[in-house]
C-alpha cells in the first residue's frame, strides 16, 4: 500500500532518465569541444538544421516520399506474406509445396539482390518497392505461419468439434490466436521496411530520406547525417507505436498485453 503512490511516479519518470542523460552528455561533450564537431555535431546545431529544413519544406517532402515508398512496399510485401502465412498455416499441402522454398529464399539477404533487382526492374520506383516488399515479406510470413502453428491444438480441436468450417475457424480461432505473433511480425517488418528503404534510396534516388542522408554523407554534413538518423528513429518510433496500439487494442484478452 505504501509504495503504491511512489511507484507510478518513478515508473512514469524512469523511461526518460536514460534518454535525458544521453542528451545531456551529448550537449556537454560537444558543447565543451571534448568531442569535435566533425565527430558529432551539437544537439542545438542539429536542431537548427532541422528547423531550417522544416521551414524550407524540403524535409517534409523527403519524409512524404519515403513514407509513401515505405508503406506501399509494406502493404504489398506484408500483405503477401500474411496471406501465404495463413494459407500455409492452414493447408498442409500448400505448406509442403512452398514452405521450404520460402525458407530457402528467406535466407538470401534481400539487399544482396540489389544488382539483380536493378537489372530486372530498373532503377525507378518499382525497384524500391520490390526491395521493401521483399524485406517485409519474410517477417510477416514467418510470424503469421508460426503464430498459427503455435495455437493451442486443444482449441483448434474444440473449434472443429463445434462445427466451425474453414472461414469461421479462421475468423474465430486461427486469426485471433495468431494475432500476438502476427503483431510481433508487423513490428519487425516495420523495422526492416525503414532499413531497406535507407539502402534502396541510395540507388538512383533523388528524393527521400535515404537520398538526403547519402547526399549529406557526400558533403560531410554531420548535422544532416545525425538529423536523418533521428528522423528515422522518429518514424520508426511512430510506426512502432501504432503497432503497439493495435496490440493493446486487439489483445485486451491477453493479460500479458493488458497489464502493460
Amino acid at each position: 500500500m505504501k509504495t503504491s503512490k511512489a511507484k507510478p511516479y518513478f515508473q512514469r519518470v524512469a523511461p526518460w532518465i536514460i534518454p535525458l542523460l544521453i542528451l545531456l552528455a551529448w550537449q556537454t561533450l560537444t558543447g565543451t569541444g571534448i568531442i569535435a564537431n566533425n565527430v558529432l555535431p551539437q544537439p542545438l546545431q542539429v536542431l537548427n538544421v532541422f528547423i531550417g529544413m522544416l521551414k524550407s519544406g524540403e524535409l517534409l517532402t523527403h519524409i512524404g516520399i519515403s513514407s509513401r515508398r515505405a508503406f506501399s512496399g509494406f502493404l504489398i510485401g506484408g500483405g503477401l506474406g500474411f496471406l501465404l502465412g495463413l494459407i500455409n498455416g492452414f493447408w498442409r499441402t500448400a505448406e509442403k509445396l512452398t514452405d521450404s522454398s520460402i525458407q530457402m529464399i528467406r535466407t538470401i539477404p534481400h539487399l544482396s539482390l540489389i544488382p539483380l533487382v536493378i537489372i530486372w526492374f530498373g532503377i525507378e520506383e518499382p525497384a524500391k518497392l520490390i526491395l521493401v516488399s521483399l524485406g517485409v515479406f519474410f517477417p510477416m510470413y514467418l510470424n503469421t505461419f508460426h503464430g498459427i502453428r503455435s495455437i493451442d491444438p486443444g482449441l483448434i480441436e474444440m473449434g472443429q468439434v463445434y462445427g466451425l468450417k474453414r472461414f469461421s475457424l479462421y475468423l474465430h480461432i486461427f486469426l485471433p490466436g495468431a494475432l500476438p505473433s502476427i503483431l510481433v511480425g508487423v513490428r519487425y517488418a516495420l523495422g526492416i521496411m525503414w532499413l531497406t528503404l535507407i539502402v534502396a534510396e541510395t540507388v538512383a534516388a533523388n528524393s527521400g530520406l535515404g537520398y538526403m542522408a547519402m547526399n549529406a554523407r557526400e558533403f560531410f554534413q554531420m548535422d544532416v547525417i545525425v538529423l536523418s538518423i533521428l528522423i528515422y528513429a522518429l518514424l520508426g518510433k511512430l510506426s512502432d507505436s501504432a503497432a503497439k496500439l493495435l496490440e493493446k487494442w486487439w489483445l485486451q484478452w491477453n493479460p500479458n498485453y493488458a497489464s502493460r
Partner: protein
C-alpha cells in the same frame, strides 16, 4: 630490395636539418638515428582493390621501415570520409572529392599534398548496345547515369556544355559505379558517365563510347593527408618515403607490364589481355608519375571547382589553394628530380 640507390644524397642534405625525410631508410643507419620510423604506422587508402599493397609487394617495395596498414574503399569520397574521422593518413582521389570534402564543418580534416599525373583514358560517356543515340546533343530529355561527386560528374557537365545543353536538359541519375553499370547494360538508362572498370566492362558488354573525357580531364591524381600527419615529423617522413616508393612503383609497372597486368587481371577478374591492353594504352596516353608542379595542379583543380560551382554544386568562392599544403613540395621536387 633494389631501392636504396638514391637514398644517400637525400639523407645528407635533409635529414639533419628538417629531420623529416628518410626515404627508403631501411638501408641507412643515419636515418634511424635521426628519426625512429619503426613506431610509425601509415594508414593508406586504396580505391577498388588492393592495388598498392599487392603492387608494392610485386615490385619489391614493401619493406618499409614503418608499418603500412591498407584499406580498400569504393571511391575517393569514402577515403576522405574515413580521413575526416581520422581513420587513414594517406588517401588518393581524383580532383573532385576533395572539393566536396572541403565543405564539411571542419574543412574535412585533410590537405592535398601531392599530385600524380595519370591516364585520362577509360573516362567516358557510353551508350548501351543498339542505342540510337548519335551525339551528346541527342541526350536531351534522356536518362543519363553518372557517379555523383566524381570526375564523371564533372566531365558529363563539361560534355553537355560543349553540346549546348544544360544539366537540367537531361534526366541525370546519380548511381554508384556498379549500379550505373548494371543499369546501362540492362538498358535501364540511356547513357552512363563513368570511369575505370565500369567503362571497360561496359565495352565488354557491347556498350559504345559516345564521348571521351580524355581531353577534358587533367588526369591528376591527388594525395591527401591529415594536418596532424603533416606536422608529425615521423609521419611526415614516412609519407615522403611512401610517395617515393609510389613513384618507383609506377615506374616498375611500366617496365613489368605483363606481370602487373596478370596481378591486376587476377584481382579484378578480367582477362589478362584486357588488363594488359588497358595498361599499355594508358601508359601510352599519359604515363603515371609524380608531378611536383603545384601551380599547374592547383590551377587545374580550380577550373574543376569553378565548373561545379557553375552547376550550383559548390560554393562559388572556393579557393582551391586553401585546401593544398605545400609542406611536401621541396621533398617531392627532389624525388621527381631524381627519378628523371
Amino acid at each position: 630490395a633494389g631501392c636504396g640507390s638514391n637514398s644517400g644524397s637525400t639523407e645528407d642534405s635533409k635529414a639533419a636539418t628538417t629531420a623529416s625525410s628518410a626515404p627508403l631508410a631501411g638501408s641507412s643507419d643515419e636515418a634511424s638515428t635521426s628519426i625512429d620510423l619503426s613506431t610509425v604506422t601509415l594508414r593508406v587508402g586504396q580505391t577498388g582493390w588492393s592495388n598498392l599493397e599487392l603492387g608494392f609487394k610485386a615490385a619489391g617495395l614493401s619493406d618499409t621501415p614503418y608499418k603500412v596498414q591498407y584499406s580498400v574503399f569504393q571511391g575517393g569520397n569514402l577515403q576522405l570520409e574515413a580521413m575526416a574521422a581520422g581513420n587513414i593518413d594517406l588517401g588518393s582521389t581524383s580532383e573532385i572529392p576533395p572539393l566536396f570534402a572541403s565543405q564539411a564543418a571542419n574543412g574535412g580534416n585533410f590537405k592535398i599534398i601531392a599530385s600524380f599525373e595519370s591516364t585520362t583514358l577509360n573516362q567516358e560517356l557510353v551508350i548501351p548496345k543498339g542505342s540510337s543515340i548519335k551525339s551528346v546533343a541527342d541526350l536531351k530529355g534522356k536518362k543519363v547515369a553518372y557517379v555523383n561527386a566524381t570526375t564523371a560528374h564533372y566531365f558529363l557537365a563539361k560534355m553537355l556544355e560543349a553540346a549546348g545543353l544544360s544539366w537540367s536538359d537531361i534526366e541525370a541519375v546519380p548511381l554508384s559505379t556498379s549500379d550505373g553499370l548494371s543499369a546501362l547494360i540492362s538498358g535501364k538508362v540511356d547513357a552512363l558517365a563513368s570511369y575505370g572498370n565500369a567503362i571497360i566492362s561496359a565495352h565488354q558488354n557491347g556498350a559504345t563510347e559516345l564521348a571521351s573525357a580524355k581531353d577534358i580531364l587533367s588526369g591528376n591524381f591527388l594525395y591527401e593527408t591529415t594536418p596532424e600527419a603533416i606536422s608529425d615529423p615521423a609521419k611526415h617522413a614516412a609519407i615522403v618515403d611512401y610517395l617515393t616508393r609510389l613513384n618507383k612503383f609506377y615506374a616498375w609497372t611500366r617496365s613489368n607490364q605483363q606481370q602487373w597486368a596478370e596481378i591486376t587481371a587476377a584481382n579484378t577478374k578480367q582477362p589478362v589481355e584486357q588488363a594488359l591492353n588497358t595498361l599499355k594504352l594508358g601508359e601510352a596516353q599519359q604515363p603515371s608519375k609524380l608531378s611536383s608542379d603545384f601551380e599547374k595542379a592547383i590551377a587545374s583543380q580550380q577550373e574543376v571547382a569553378d565548373t561545379l560551382a557553375g552547376l550550383g554544386l559548390l560554393k562559388s568562392d572556393l579557393d582551391v589553394s586553401s585546401i593544398w599544403s605545400r609542406e611536401f613540395e621541396e621533398e617531392l621536387q627532389q624525388i621527381t628530380a631524381e627519378s628523371e
